[in-house]
């Protein structure tokens, strides 16, 4: 379970301070898929970065499976499988070596890593490129490799930042199946997106973020009820107040 409580984060820039995240609170429960939905620039990535301890919040608390991120950031990272916004893989290594590297960094034994790679390559359909060097991989192959290495340590909580970005239909379907599989196994799945249909199809719970704040939080049905609109996309536009940043 991932808990965010009153997270705030500001960045200094030449034009003064920018309040990227302005008091975000929500819970992502085990056995559920939670979608962090919001237009570009709403503060999704910054929120996630605080959740996976890359950034320290100016205020607020992050707790993952009962571990306070401020006290034990490494302990939190053990519980998380993270697909960050930046998902570069090592081009001179094969997909397998990329995944192995992260498995070792997670402290796993070689046998266990081999076993996990076998399972992940099956789940993500990576067989035909697993032992090829990553130079020249397609976007889909890169994303699959990045997802596999993020989850090689079999984390209880999975945190994906815009996982469907730039993927073709087949890869998106594989990703969707994978996320549902993780949910079936009772894990806590949290992912961000700015694409409404994707979120509507998968999520048990939607947290809508705009201008660094949570503007709606509930099941798809609750959000429809909240706005009085049957169409979730219309509801979404109404909640965030504009269509800006939605369709890029």
């Amino acid at each position: 379970m991932i808990e965010a409580d009153g997270l705030r984060k500001a960045f200094r820039s030449r034009r003064g301070a920018i309040q990227a995240v302005d008091g975000v609170s929500f819970q992502a429960l085990d056995g559920q898929i939670t979608g962090l939905l919001g237009p570009n620039g709403a503060g999704k990535t910054t929120t996630l970065r605080m959740l996976y301890t890359l950034m320290r919040p100016d205020a607020g608390r992050v707790v993952v499976d009962g571990i306070d991120a401020a006290r034990d950031p490494a302990g939190v990272r053990v519980q998380l499988g993270v697909l960050p916004d930046a998902r570069g893989i090592y081009k001179r290594l094969t997909a397998r070596e990329n995944i192995e590297y992260f498995g070792r960094l997670q402290g796993l034994e070689p046998d266990l890593i081999a076993e996990r790679i076998e399972r992940l390559s099956l789940a993500l359909d990576m067989r035909d490129f697993l032992d090829r060097r990553a130079e020249g991989f397609s976007q889909g192959q890169r994303t699959k490799t990045a997802i596999a290495r993020a989850t090689v340590h079999d984390p209880r909580n999975v945190l994906f930042d815009e996982p469907a970005n730039g993927l073709d239909v087949m890869t998106t379907r594989a990703l969707r199946r994978h996320l549902l599989g993780l949910k079936e196994e009772g894990r806590c799945v949290l992912f961000s997106s700015h694409i409404m249909p994707e979120v509507a199809q998968l999520c048990d719970r939607i947290v809508v973020i705009a201008h660094g704040r949570v503007v709606a939080n509930g099941t798809p049905d609750e959000i429809r009820a909240l706005t009085g609109l049957a169409n979730l996309e219309d509801a979404f536009v109404k909640v965030i107040g504009s269509e800006e940043g939605l369709y890029s």
């Binding site: 993270v82 930046a86 998902r87 570069g88 090592y90 960094l105 997670q106």
Partner: protein, 392 residues
């Protein structure tokens, strides 16, 4: 398995698959050092031999005023040629290395038994190019001076030794290995440079390159500490540099063993135990270089940015070498505590086969490693900054 060791192994594997980096570090650099030094040494030796043995052309002004002297010089491997119109200009313009002018009063004074004057026209600002020629002509003139003086004393019934109250004999205590030439001044600099920045490409690739390719953020989502990550990268850079350095020293050794001995200065022919000592002396510089390069490159946003300021580090190892060239001083212990200056001194001592005491070793290795440690500490602290990973 420690985290730093995992990072270390991955970075080395990654580097070993980079053909451009391998070619540069394990082929071009190791070949460049023996080629530069060997080439310079062979060329220098040949030029020197040519100057000493070949017939030297000596323009003489007023050769008719001293026919005996001119004839004597001609019989000592000099060829007397007609002087240029303006002797001083010719020497200054490097048309001639040296011109001999026989004074108008030469014949008169000679017959009177007075010192007769000859003037040697040369340019002292080019000691490397024309120093040997000047010395050769001067030595011949001195020899003639002594010969005629002795004959005059004998003609007057005086024993020639009367005019030699002092007998100066030279005894050079330098060992064969310590005879010095300028190529040897270059060796410490080239070795230190290679040790210091030899890992530049790997350092940039594993830090700035990692940021540019967006693989740093995923790496930081693992539970591994940032100290371990940067340590692994620093050590990978150091190991890579050491391998490159080892190749260079071996290539150097092989190149000099293969060269015909009359073509090169044998003092550059370093034996294997000395090579091992060179390696140990340079080790702290490798660590210092790897740490500084990694720390600096970690802050560049891109490969290109890192490449634009790291070459400045080339000047660091140059400073003490230049200092020693301009102001050659006796080694004192404090110098061994100054990085680069210390290694420079010790490399020269090894090449000269001089003894290095345990204290010298301790001061040199200790101070440089300590500095590398401080640099590591700063690098590790800086690696904790938030801006590092979240650049986009």
């Amino acid at each position: 398995m420690s985290a730093w060791w995992i990072v270390f192994r991955k970075e080395l594997l990654d580097a070993m698959r980079d053909r451009r980096m391998l070619l540069m570090s394990f082929v071009i650099m190791p070949l460049a050092v023996p080629l530069i030094l060997g080439g310079m040494s062979a060329l220098g030796a040949r030029k020197q031999a040519e100057k000493l043995e070949s017939t030297l052309e000596l323009p003489v002004i007023g050769a008719g005023r001293a026919p005996n002297l001119v004839a004597w010089l001609g019989s000592h491997n000099l060829r007397i040629v007609a002087p240029p119109a303006d002797a001083e200009a010719a020497v200054r313009d490097q048309d001639r290395e040296v011109v001999l002018r026989i004074d108008e009063t030469f014949g008169e004074n000679w017959r009177a038994g007075q010192p007769a004057r000859v003037v040697l026209i040369f340019d002292s600002s080019r000691p490397i190019q024309s120093g040997a020629t000047i010395n050769r002509v001067r030595a011949l003139l001195d020899a003639y001076d002594r010969e005629v003086g002795t004959l005059r004393l004998v003609a007057r019934g005086i024993h020639p030794s009367v005019s030699n109250p002092l007998q100066v004999a030279s005894r050079d205590v330098a060992r064969v290995e310590s005879r010095f030439d300028f190529t040897q001044q270059m060796l410490p600099y080239l070795l230190l440079l290679l040790a210091f920045i030899g890992g530049m490409q790997l350092a940039i690739d594993s830090t700035a390159g990692e940021r540019e390719r967006h693989s740093l953020e995923p790496l930081l989502t693992t539970p591994v500490s940032r100290e371990a990550i940067i340590s692994g990268k620093i050590l990978a850079t150091a190991a890579f540099t050491l391998m490159s350095l080892l190749m260079t020293l071996l290539a150097y050794r092989i190149a000099f063993a293969a060269m015909p001995s009359d073509q090169i200065d044998l003092s550059l022919n370093v034996q294997l135990p000395a090579l091992a000592m060179l390696f140990v002396v340079i080790l702290p510089i490798v660590m210092l270089g790897a740490t500084l390069l990694t720390a600096l490159a970690a802050f560049a946003r891109s490969y290109r940015e890192a490449q634009s300021y790291l070459p400045l580090l080339i000047f660091l190892p140059m400073i003490p070498s230049l200092f020693l060239m301009v102001a050659p001083v006796r080694t004192q212990l404090w110098m061994l505590a100054v990085p680069f200056l210390s290694q420079n001194q010790l490399i020269l001592r090894i090449l000269r086969s001089e003894t290095i005491t345990a204290t010298d070793w301790a001061v040199s290795l200790g101070s440089s490693l300590l500095l590398a440690g401080v640099a590591w500490f700063v690098a590790a602290r800086l690696y904790h900054r938030e801006e590092l990973a979240a650049s986009s």
